[in-house]
């Protein structure tokens, strides 16, 4: 008891000292006097006036701001046309709001097992019926209603990189205000939502041709009803064993890759006949058709004509070993 009283006394003493210091700051030359009494003294009146002026300015500016905002809205000058893109700042704010809000609200969602084949198949059917119209699919365009939506519905091959599975499910279930994303949870159960998530999660390993086959299969035009996903390990372990960044860099120079491609960190011409290869590891497709993984990339480097007979990229006679070394180097590019 005694201790507590002592503590309170000490704290209040400090508090009073702090007040005294503040008072000196506000009214220099009058050290320890308290704030309340002297304000009403006649010689303090100019200070009161100053306070009033500050207050009036703040209130006045606030009212002018409000009036200005109202005038802006009511005049109709704001261009609400989806045809013209958002301002950079609007985009940034919307993106940040979306990112933080989804992360916050989906933080406790428990993700079930998503690798079940039946679940993925069910997800595919739902995706085809509900998602393609705005997001498209590998090689398939969004429907006319999905073109010109602003902000643009992103391609979902990328969703796996940007959002966790729980976040994908949350967005699917509850939708996104200000983005035109509908809440698909309406009229659906959790199983459907996790099915869509399970399919979206695998979308970036689905070649465009295979997606087309799946759609044809559900219409009965194509015998395959099973999804042929790319192998679980798409060569990343092999790449780990076979790659040698330094050798890869030297081989890129030796085979003259930079005569046609811009490759950061590699010596040579850095021409632009072919696509620039910066950030290669996040690129989704090779030659716009093959899923970008080490197996496909090593094959492509060795013999591009075998994968795309009409491509302008020549077969420069890269050995298998060299192709893996080059692939290893390309996946390190920033």
């Amino acid at each position: 008891m005694k201790l507590i009283r002592k503590a309170i006394a000490t704290v209040s003493r400090f508090f009073m000292k702090g007040l005294a210091v503040l008072a000196t700051l506000v009214r220099p030359g009058q050290p320890t006097a308290l704030v309340v009494t002297p304000l009403s003294r006649p010689e303090e009146r100019p200070r009161m006036r100053a306070l009033w002026i500050v207050l009036a300015t703040v209130v006045g500016l606030g009212m002018m701001g409000l009036a200005g905002a109202f005038a802006f809205i009511y005049s109709g000058i704001y261009d609400i046309a989806a045809y013209r893109p958002h301002l950079e700042i609007t985009n940034k704010v919307l993106t940040l709001v979306k990112r933080r809000s989804v992360e916050f609200h989906a933080r406790d969602l428990i993700v079930p097992e998503l690798d079940d084949a039946d679940l993925i198949q069910r997800g595919f059917v739902l995706y085809r019926d509900h998602c393609v119209s705005c997001h498209g699919a590998p090689g398939e365009a969004r429907a006319p209603m999905g073109v010109g939506v602003n902000p643009n519905p992103p391609p979902l091959e990328k969703a796996v990189e940007d959002w966790s599975h729980a976040e994908v499910a949350w967005i699917t279930a509850y939708g996104l205000k200000m983005a035109g994303m509908p809440a698909f949870g309406l009229g659906k159960g959790p199983l459907d939502l996790w099915a869509i998530t399970a399919f979206v999660k695998r979308l970036n390993t689905l070649p465009p041709e295979e997606y087309r086959n799946m759609v044809a299969a559900t219409r009965g035009e194509y015998p395959m009803a099973e999804i042929r996903w790319l192998p679980e390990n798409q060569g990343w372990e092999l790449l780990e064993q076979r790659s040698d960044d330094d050798r890869g860099r030297r081989l890129v120079e030796y085979y003259g890759c930079t005569s046609c491609h811009r490759i950061p960190g590699a010596p040579g011409l850095q021409a632009m006949s072919g696509p620039p290869l910066h950030n290669w590891r996040v690129r989704h497709y090779i030659s716009g058709r093959w899923v970008n993984n080490p197996i496909n990339l090593a094959r492509w480097i060795q013999n591009p004509q075998a994968m795309d007979p009409k491509t302008a990229m020549p077969n420069v006679g890269v050995t298998e070993e060299d192709a893996w070394a080059i692939a290893g180097f390309l996946y390190t590019l920033e």
């Binding site: 993106t95 365009a141 969004r142 602003n150 990328k158 696509p275 716009g288 990229m313």
Partner: protein, 132 residues
Amino acid sequence: MNMKNRKTLLTPIRVTMVLCFSIWIAGCTRAPERLTEEDFLPDVSRGKDLVSVYACSACHEIAGVSGIPGNIGPPLTEWGQRKFIAGRVPNEAHILAQWIQNPQEFKPGTAMPDLGVSKVEALSMAAYLYSQ
């Protein structure tokens, strides 16, 4: 607070009211507008808008377009320097416009979809890409 003070406070409000009124009047007195064919001629700045509206930048990295650069397809920065479209046809404006309109015809099975772009729109987008 005396009358003079109140007057200084009222002035900004009056100014705002006059401003609102003039904006309103300006809105009323504009001549009627019709969409004409000329509004739909190929145009670089419209091309820039279209590249964003058709979500090209969702898949491609394109200079001057806001948002996170897409990584589904190849970057289209400094497009004018590129020699080939889709790795097979020469990079010329009219061919690029055809590719934008109908990629599946050029390269069956490509991940790039036909988005239903009109010819003029495709030419505008091509013009923007070359201007980068």
